[in-house]
């Protein structure tokens, strides 16, 4: 249980870093990149330890993660249209 308490403290610390970064007046793109990177670290730790993926058969990880990442990658194709909309609204 000691390990899990350490992870709990670590995750709360990452959240505090996120809040600290929010008020450092970073450009929005940089802030988003930092917050997403930290969120992925938090999620990875949560899945590995809290959800015990670290202790499961690696086949489970190699079945679930690539297909999920593939879908998330495919969703990324919406961004050019979002930037087009932003440009249209500005003109």
């Amino acid at each position: 249980m000691k390990v899990y308490v350490g992870i709990w403290v670590g995750l709360i610390s990452i959240m505090l870093v996120e809040v600290f970064l929010t008020y450092q007046h970073l450009p929005p793109q940089s802030l988003l990149a930092c917050l997403l990177a930290l969120a992925f670290v938090e999620a990875g730790i949560g899945i590995a330890y809290f959800m015990h993926m670290k202790y499961e058969n690696p086949k489970l990880l190699w079945t679930l993660v690539p297909i999920t990442i593939f879908v998330l990658f495919m969703l990324d194709h919406i961004w050019p249209d979002a930037f087009r909309l932003a440009r249209l609204s500005l003109h």
């Binding site: 899990y4 709360i12 959240m15 802030l31 899945i47 959800m51 489970l60 961004w79 249209d81």
Partner: protein, 194 residues
């Protein structure tokens, strides 16, 4: 019987598959939210540090703590200590309810301030409210469903018609709700801090 290729029980595999599909559901919603955010130059960030961001921080700590208590429940269930397991599950449900109450308080505060699904009291894009209520609403629905699922599983475990494996499978769902919040908080709250 042929052994599972993943070395886990069928119900646990089913829960993992559900989690993968629900990840895509949340991801789609967060992508749609970000699409609207990028495409709306008159987006008006609604959240001040006090009370909204501070409230979000407290909610994050509560949800993370509930994951810890849920782990205690799973360990106790596997060790065959039914009483301790039920106590930990009770703490988890209580924390889930506190999270939901804080979230609803945030919602009612915003509604009182004039925010609606298609109404922005700051005069900017109406999609700010729509995005916020949709994303956080789906997450809140998951938290409430999780509390109900935990209550049902705790009852079944107490009466002996559910086993430690059921507690562990339900805990996966609860931790997943926690993991999703790790993206909702920075994207919806912190990126909208004034």
């Amino acid at each position: 019987m042929e052994a599972s290729p993943y070395g886990i029980e069928s119900k646990k595999l089913a829960m993992w598959l559900f989690i993968a599909s629900d990840t895509v559901t949340f991801a789609s919603l967060l992508f749609a939210y970000s699409y609207l955010r990028i495409g709306s130059p008159n987006w008006t960030p609604p959240f001040k540090f006090w009370p909204s961001v501070a409230n979000g921080m407290v909610m994050t700590i509560i949800l993370l703590t509930s994951s810890l208590t849920m782990l205690g429940g799973v360990r106790a269930a596997k060790a065959g200590d039914q009483k301790l397991c039920l106590r930990w599950m009770g703490y988890t449900m209580l924390l889930g309810v506190i999270f939901a109450v804080l979230h609803l308080r945030e919602w009612f505060g915003m509604i009182h301030g004039g925010w609606r699904l298609f109404q922005n009291p700051l005069g900017g894009s109406v999609e700010v409210g729509a995005g916020f209520f949709c994303v956080t609403g789906l997450h809140l629905l998951h938290v409430i469903s999780g509390v109900v699922a935990l209550a049902v599983v705790a009852l079944g475990f107490k009466r002996g018609w559910l086993k430690a494996g059921h507690v562990e499978t339900t805990s996966l769902y609860w931790h997943f709700v926690d993991v999703v919040w790790m993206f909702v908080f920075p994207i919806v709250y912190l990126m909208n801090a004034q």
